[in-house]
C-alpha cells in the first residue's frame, strides 16, 4: 500500500478500487451526454423517459403514443447526424496568464477553407481530463470529510465530486459562431472563468454541428494543445501593513548599495551595547581586548525580506488556498523600492530572485505559488532547518502559517531570538478562529502575529 493512502483501511481501498471506475464512467457518460445533446435534446430525452414509464401499459393510457413520437424524433436526429460536413481550422489566442476567480475572454480564430458557408456551429473547449487516478482518489481528504456519515466516507462519492471541482482549473462556455463565409475567417470570443490556480491544459477545440431538428450534435475534435497559467487569487493589502525590518531614514541612495541585506564591508568598530545582534560581534577584537566589540556596517538602501509559506498540511482545501493567495498578495504588491521580497521558502525549497530593482521577481514568485501543493507526509522541521540555513542573508521574515503548533512556534522563536523581525500571518479555519494563541515565541513583539480566518481573509486584511 502506498504511503499516501495509509490513512485508508484495506476495506476502503478495495471499495475505492471497485467504485472509482464507476464514478469515472458516470462522469464520462454525463460529460459526453451534455456535449452531444442540445438543451432541447436533453429535454426530449427526459420527456421520453417519463412517457416510457407512464405509458408502459398501453391499455391504461395513450401516453405511449407520445413516447413513440419522441422516440421517433430522437432516432431520426441520430440518422440525420452524418449528413453534413464541417471543414474549419481553428487557432486559439490566449492571454499570458490569468488570476484565479476571475472571468476572462480570449479569441479563437476560425478559418473556413471549404466552398460553402458554415452556419450554426458552436465551439467547445476540450480541457485536460479532471478525473482523479486511484492513488489521488484514495490519498485525497475532502475538507470536512470526518463530519460525513460512515457510508459517505467509505463510498467517497462526495470526495470524488470535490476532487473533480478542485482539479477543474478553467470553466469555458461554449460559443455560437457567426456564419463563416467560404474561404473566410472570423474571430470568436470565448468566455471562461479561472477557478483554480495552476497550469490549465487545453487539449483541443471541438466544433459542434446540430442535426436538422436541433436535438443532437455531431462533434469534430481538432487537437490544439496549449497551456495557460492561472495565478493565485490576490487580496488588496492595507497600506499600513509593512514588511518587518524595513529600514528608514536612509541617507544614501541606490548607488550606495553594493548588495542587498547588510553589506559585507563595515565602517568601524565600537563597544557592545545591549540589544546588538550577536551576529555582528567582531570576534578577533574581543579576543584581543577581552570585551565584546561590535562591527558597524554601512547601511544600504535595499533590505531583503523572505516569505515563508507553510505547505506542511495533510491535504489541500480552503485554508491552504487562502494561505497561498495571501502569499501571492504580498508577492504582488511588495515593490516599494525600499525592500525586496525575493527570497521564498515554500515546500522544502528555497527560491532566490535577486535580479536588481524591479518587479520581475513578482511574476516568478506568483508562478511558483501557482504550482505549489501541500506536503502531507513531511515534517515541518525541514522548513525550519532550511530557513535557518539561509537566515544570515535575511533582514526580515514574513511567515504564513496554517497552524500554531510546537514546530511552527519553534521556527518563529528561533528567528526572534536571532533578532530578525518576524511577522506571522496565521490562517485558520472558521471553527478554530476563537481559540487562544500563545504569543510567547514572538518575544517582545506579540503584535507581530495576525490571525486571519479562511473565507474572510479579505475582510480580515481590510480591518488591520
Amino acid at each position: 500500500m502506498k504511503s499516501s493512502i495509509k490513512h485508508r483501511s484495506r476495506f476502503e481501498c478495495l471499495l475505492g478500487a471497485w467504485l472509482l471506475p464507476g464514478f469515472r464512467r458516470f462522469y464520462s457518460l454525463n460529460w459526453r451526454f451534455y456535449r452531444r445533446h442540445t438543451p432541447a435534446g436533453r429535454g426530449l430525452l427526459l420527456a421520453m423517459l417519463a412517457t416510457a414509464i407512464l405509458g408502459v401499459d398501453t391499455d391504461q393510457a395513450l401516453v405511449y403514443q407520445l413516447f413513440s413520437l419522441l422516440a421517433a424524433l430522437w432516432a431520426l436526429a441520430w440518422v440525420m447526424l452524418p449528413f453534413g460536413r464541417v471543414q474549419v481550422g481553428v487557432r486559439r489566442i490566449l492571454p499570458p496568464f490569468v488570476c484565479a476567480g476571475e472571468s476572462f475572454s480570449y479569441v479563437i480564430q476560425v478559418d473556413n477553407p471549404g466552398p460553402g458557408w458554415q452556419k450554426d456551429l458552436r465551439l467547445l473547449e476540450d480541457l485536460e481530463d479532471p478525473r482523479p487516478s486511484y492513488v489521488e482518489f484514495m490519498a485525497a481528504r475532502e475538507p470536512g470529510e470526518a463530519l460525513r456519515n460512515g457510508f459517505d466516507r467509505r463510498v467517497g462519492y462526495h470526495r470524488f465530486v470535490w476532487l473533480m471541482r478542485s482539479r477543474e482549473r478553467l470553466r469555458c462556455q461554449e460559443t455560437l459562431l457567426d456564419p463563416v463565409p467560404p474561404g473566410g475567417r472570423i474571430r470568436a470570443v470565448m468566455n471562461a472563468t479561472a477557478r483554480q490556480r495552476g497550469p490549465a491544459h487545453f487539449v483541443g477545440v471541438t466544433v459542434a454541428r446540430p442535426d436538422p431538428l436541433g436535438l443532437i450534435r455531431a462533434l469534430v475534435r481538432i487537437p490544439r494543445p496549449q497551456t495557460l497559467l492561472v495565478l493565485p487569487k490576490t487580496y488588496p493589502l492595507p497600506a499600513r501593513l509593512q514588511l518587518p525590518g524595513v529600514r528608514q531614514h536612509q541617507v544614501g541612495g541606490e548607488s550606495m548599495a553594493y548588495s542587498v541585506g547588510d553589506a559585507a564591508e563595515f565602517v568601524s568598530l565600537r563597544d557592545y551595547r545591549e540589544g546588538d545582534s550577536p551576529r555582528h560581534i567582531h570576534w578577533p577584537s574581543w579576543a584581543k581586548t577581552g570585551k565584546p566589540v561590535i562591527r558597524e556596517f554601512r547601511e544600504e538602501y535595499f533590505t531583503r525580506h523572505a516569505l515563508i509559506l507553510d505547505t506542511f498540511c495533510p491535504f489541500g482545501g480552503e485554508v491552504f488556498e487562502e494561505a497561498v493567495s495571501l502569499a501571492a498578495s504580498f508577492a504582488a504588491v511588495t515593490d516599494d523600492g525600499e525592500a525586496l521580497l525575493d527570497l521564498l521558502f515554500v515546500s522544502n525549497q528555497a527560491h532566490c530572485f535577486t535580479m536588481g530593482r524591479g518587479v520581475s521577481q513578482s511574476r516568478q514568485i506568483q508562478e511558483i505559488l501557482a504550482a505549489v501543493f501541500p506536503l502531507p507526509d513531511q515534517p515541518f522541521a525541514q522548513l525550519t532547518a532550511l530557513v535557518m540555513h539561509h537566515v544570515a542573508a535575511v533582514s526580515g521574515v514574513l511567515v504564513i502559517l496554517l497552524a500554531w503548533d510546537g514546530p511552527r512556534q519553534e521556527l518563529v522563536r528561533g528567528l526572534t531570538q536571532l533578532g530578525i523581525p518576524v511577522r506571522v500571518m496565521l490562517v485558520v479555519p472558521e471553527e478554530a478562529s476563537g481559540s487562544p494563541v500563545d504569543l510567547e515565541p514572538l518575544g517582545e513583539h506579540p503584535e507581530g502575529l495576525i490571525q486571519l480566518v479562511a473565507g474572510r481573509v479579505a475582510a480580515g486584511l481590510a480591518s488591520l
Binding site: L62, V63, L69, A72, K119, P212, L213
Partner: protein, 649 residues
C-alpha cells in the same frame, strides 16, 4: 418584465385544451388556459417573497399527495399514477399561477427542491421556467385516456413540431426540417401501433408460456427443513365475527390449497382460476344459487389490488364484497381482484364439509424420496386397508400420542429428508410438518388430500362473537376427500396456539390498542366516504405527530442552549441592582414581578432595561443572544454606577 420567459403564446394553452377535451375536464381546461396564457397580457404584478412562493409550491405538493391517495383508494379503474397524471394540470395550478403572475416569471430551484431551502441566501440559486415542463405534463395528462383517439397523436405531433420549430438548426432549409418531422411522425405512428399490438399479443400469450414453462404457477414455500426458532408476529391481521351459532372452535379460514409437494414446499399444480358470477355484491362460490346456514363476517383491509379471501371450508357464497372480479381455482382457493380498500365481507358456509370439485391426479401424488418412509409408517399403523374414517382417527391418535408441537426447528439426520426426520427421529415440529405429514400419509393410505394454509380463529375479544386473528395464528392443515366431500383434518397438537402465545412481546397490548382504535374508526366511518382511508390517515397523523414532537424537542433544546448562554452560570442580571436597591429601602417584595417592581420604582431607564431583558429571557431564539445579553449587562452596570454616584451626592 418578461413573463413569457422562453415560451410562446399558445404553448401552454393548446395542450391544456387538448387535456380538457381528452379527459372531460373541458371547462376547467378553458379556465386554466385563459388564466395562464393571460398572464402575458395582464399588467397585474403579483410580487411575492420566496418564502411565500415556497408555500404555494408546498400547497401543490399537498394536492399531489391527496390526488395520489384518492387515486390509490377510490379510483380502482386505473393505476394511481395514471390517475395522478390526469389531475396534474389542476394540481400544479397554484405553483403555475404564482410563477406566471410573479414578477420574475420563473421560479427558483429551492421552490421545487426542499433541501435547498436550508441555504440562507438563495438569491444565487438557478432559476428555471416551468412553462414548457408544465405544457409537457398537460400533453401527457391528455393521454390519460383509455379510449383510442387518433387526434391525440396528430395534435400532440403538431404541438411538438411547434416547439421544435424554435430550436431548429438554421444550417438546413425549412423543407428538410419539414421532411424530417413528417418522417418522425410516420415513424412514431408506426411505433405506437406496433407497441400496442405487441402488448396485446404478450398479454394473451404470456400466461400460456409461463404455465408451460413452470408447470405450477402458484407455489408456497414452507419452513420445513429450516433450523432455528420459528417466530411469527403478534400483529392483528384481521377480525372475524361469527354471526350465527353454533360456533365451530377453532374456525379454520383457508387462504389457499396446494396439491404438489416438492423441495420442502407446496405448489398448486396447474392451477386454473375460473371467474365467479356476481349478483350485486354477492358471489356464488360453488356455482349454485343456494345459501347456507352458517355465516361469518371477516373484517379485513386489503392493501393490494388482488388478494386471497380467507374463507371457511364449505363456503357457498360471499356477500357484501365490492370487487371487480372474484375467481376460484380447482383446489377451492378464492382470489379477488379490485379489492384494495375493501373493509369487510360475509361468507356463508356449510359446516364441516365442502362440495368442491372432486380430486384429481395431483391429490394422490407422493414424491419419490418420501415414499419409503410414508409406506413404513402406514404399514406400522396398519392404515393401508382400513376405511377412510378409521384412517383419519388412527392418524389423529398417532400424532396426538407420539408427537409434540415445537417452534424450535432442529435436524437430527441431515442424510434424510426433513419429513423423514420429523416422522422417525425428532417427532416434534410446527404445523407445516404436521399438515404435510398428514396429507402425504393420507395419500399413502389411498385418500386424496391437499395441503391447506390459512388462519385459525381462536382469540375472542370483547364478546359479541368478535375474534381477532394475529399473524401468529397463521396455520396449516390438511383437507381430505372422504365420503364424497372435502373435510378439514388438523392433526397439529391443540396446544400449538398456547406455545405460540408464550413468546408474545410485552408491548402487544399497546399495539392492540392502536389496532382497536383504527378498527373503531373504520366502523365509525363504515357508511362514510371510505373506510379504507382510515389506516393511512392514522399513520399520517402519527407521522405528523412525531414530526411535531421532534420539532418541539429541538426547539426546547435550542432554547435551553441559549438559556445556558444567557445565565452563564451566574446570578440573574438584575440581582446586583435588587441587592443595592434593597439596601436603600427600595427592595423587591416577595412575589413581586420584575416588571411591577421596576414600574413601582418609577425609573424610566430601569423600565427600559427591564423591557430589553424580558424578550431575552422568555424568547431567546429570536435574538442574537450573546451579544444582546452582554449589551444588557453593560447597560445595567452603567445604570448601577450612575445610581450609586447620585445616591452618594
Amino acid at each position: 418584465m418578461n413573463r413569457s420567459s422562453g415560451w410562446m403564446p399558445g404553448w401552454i394553452g393548446a395542450p391544456l385544451l387538448l387535456w380538457g377535451w381528452q379527459t372531460g375536464f373541458g371547462g376547467v381546461a378553458i379556465v386554466l388556459a385563459v388564466l395562464l396564457e393571460g398572464s402575458r397580457w395582464v399588467r397585474f404584478d403579483w410580487r411575492l417573497e420566496p418564502r411565500l412562493v415556497h408555500r404555494w409550491a408546498d400547497f401543490s405538493a399537498l394536492l399531489m399527495l391527496l390526488s395520489l391517495m384518492y387515486n390509490y383508494k377510490i379510483n380502482n379503474i386505473e393505476s394511481p399514477v395514471i390517475g395522478l397524471l390526469r389531475h396534474l394540470p389542476m394540481v400544479l395550478l397554484p405553483l403555475m399561477v404564482v410563477t406566471a403572475y410573479g414578477s420574475e416569471g420563473r421560479c427558483r430551484l429551492d421552490t421545487l427542491l426542499v433541501s435547498l431551502r436550508k441555504i440562507k441566501d438563495g438569491s444565487g440559486l438557478r432559476q428555471i421556467s416551468l412553462a414548457l415542463p408544465y405544457a409537457g405534463i398537460c400533453l401527457a395528462a391528455a393521454g390519460c385516456s383509455r379510449f383510442s383517439n387518433p387526434w391525440y397523436f396528430v395534435l400532440a405531433t403538431l404541438w411538438v413540431a411547434w416547439v421544435l420549430w424554435s430550436v431548429r438548426s438554421r444550417r438546413y432549409g425549412v423543407l428538410i426540417w419539414c421532411c424530417c418531422l413528417l418522417i418522425s411522425a410516420g415513424g412514431g405512428w408506426a411505433l405506437h401501433t406496433g407497441l400496442h399490438h405487441l402488448q396485446s399479443w404478450l398479454t394473451l400469450a404470456a400466461p400460456e408460456w409461463l404455465s408451460d414453462w413452470m408447470q405450477v404457477p402458484d407455489r408456497r414455500r414452507s419452513a420445513i427443513g429450516d433450523v432455528g426458532q420459528l417466530k411469527l408476529s403478534d400483529r392483528i391481521v384481521f377480525r372475524v365475527r361469527q354471526v350465527t351459532l353454533p360456533w365451530q372452535y377453532p374456525l379454520l379460514l383457508r387462504d389457499a390449497s396446494y396439491s404438489y409437494y416438492v423441495d420442502n414446499g407446496w405448489q398448486a399444480a396447474l392451477s386454473r382460476y375460473v371467474p365467479l358470477n356476481p349478483v350485486g355484491q354477492s358471489w356464488s362460490v360453488d356455482g349454485s344459487a343456494g345459501s347456507a346456514a352458517n355465516i361469518v363476517q371477516v373484517y379485513k383491509s386489503f392493501s393490494a389490488d388482488v388478494g386471497w379471501l380467507p374463507l371457511p371450508l364449505g363456503t357457498v357464497r360471499v356477500d357484501d364484497l365490492s370487487a371487480r372480479q372474484v375467481e376460484r381455482d380447482q383446489y377451492g382457493t378464492v382470489k379477488a381482484s379490485g379489492v384494495a380498500g375493501v373493509g369487510s365481507y360475509t361468507a356463508r358456509y356449510e359446516l364441516g364439509e365442502s362440495l368442491e370439485p372432486p380430486p384429481g391426479k395431483w391429490d394422490l401424488h407422493i414424491p419419490k424420496e418420501e415414499q419409503a418412509v410414508l409406506a413404513r409408517v402406514v404399514e406400522e399403523l396398519g392404515l393401508g386397508s382400513r376405511p377412510p374414517m378409521e384412517v383419519l382417527t388412527g392418524l389423529s391418535r398417532f400424532f396426538q400420542e407420539r408427537f409434540k408441537y415445537s417452534t424450535w426447528l432442529t435436524r437430527e439426520d441431515e442424510g434424510q429428508t426433513a419429513l423423514s426426520d420429523f416422522l422417525l427421529k425428532t417427532r416434534s415440529g410446527h404445523c407445516e410438518y404436521f399438515a404435510t405429514a398428514t396429507t402425504l400419509l393420507l395419500r399413502q393410505a389411498g385418500i386424496p388430500s391437499r395441503y391447506a394454509v390459512g388462519y385459525s380463529v381462536q382469540e375472542e375479544q370483547g364478546g359479541q362473537n368478535m375474534f381477532i386473528v394475529r399473524a401468529r395464528h397463521a396455520h396449516a392443515w390438511s383437507v381430505a376427500y372422504v365420503d364424497g366431500a372435502w373435510r378439514n383434518v388438523d392433526n397439529t397438537p391443540p396446544d400449538w396456539s398456547a406455545v405460540e402465545e408464550q413468546g408474545a412481546a410485552f408491548w402487544v397490548p399497546l399495539l392492540d390498542l392502536w389496532s382497536d382504535g383504527l378498527f373503531f374508526l373504520q366502523q365509525y366511518f363504515e357508511h362514510g366516504v371510505s373506510v379504507a382511508w382510515v389506516p393511512e390517515l392514522s399513520w399520517l397523523a402519527l407521522l405528523f405527530g412525531l414530526i411535531l414532537v421532534r420539532k418541539h424537542l429541538l426547539r426546547l433544546r435550542r432554547v435551553r442552549r441559549h438559556a445556558v448562554v444567557s445565565v452563564e452560570g451566574e446570578q440573574p442580571p438584575f440581582a446586583r441592582i435588587e441587592h443595592y436597591l434593597a439596601g436603600i429601602g427600595k427592595g423587591r417584595h416577595p412575589g413581586e414581578t420584575l416588571q411591577s417592581w421596576t414600574e413601582r420604582i418609577q425609573d424610566p431607564q430601569l423600565v427600559l432595561l427591564m423591557q430589553m431583558y424580558y424578550p431575552l429571557k422568555y424568547d431567546p431564539c429570536q435574538f442574537n443572544n450573546t451579544i444582546d445579553f452582554n449589551n444588557l449587562l453593560h447597560d445595567l452596570d452603567i445604570w448601577l454606577f450612575d445610581i450609586k454616584k447620585n445616591y452618594k451626592k
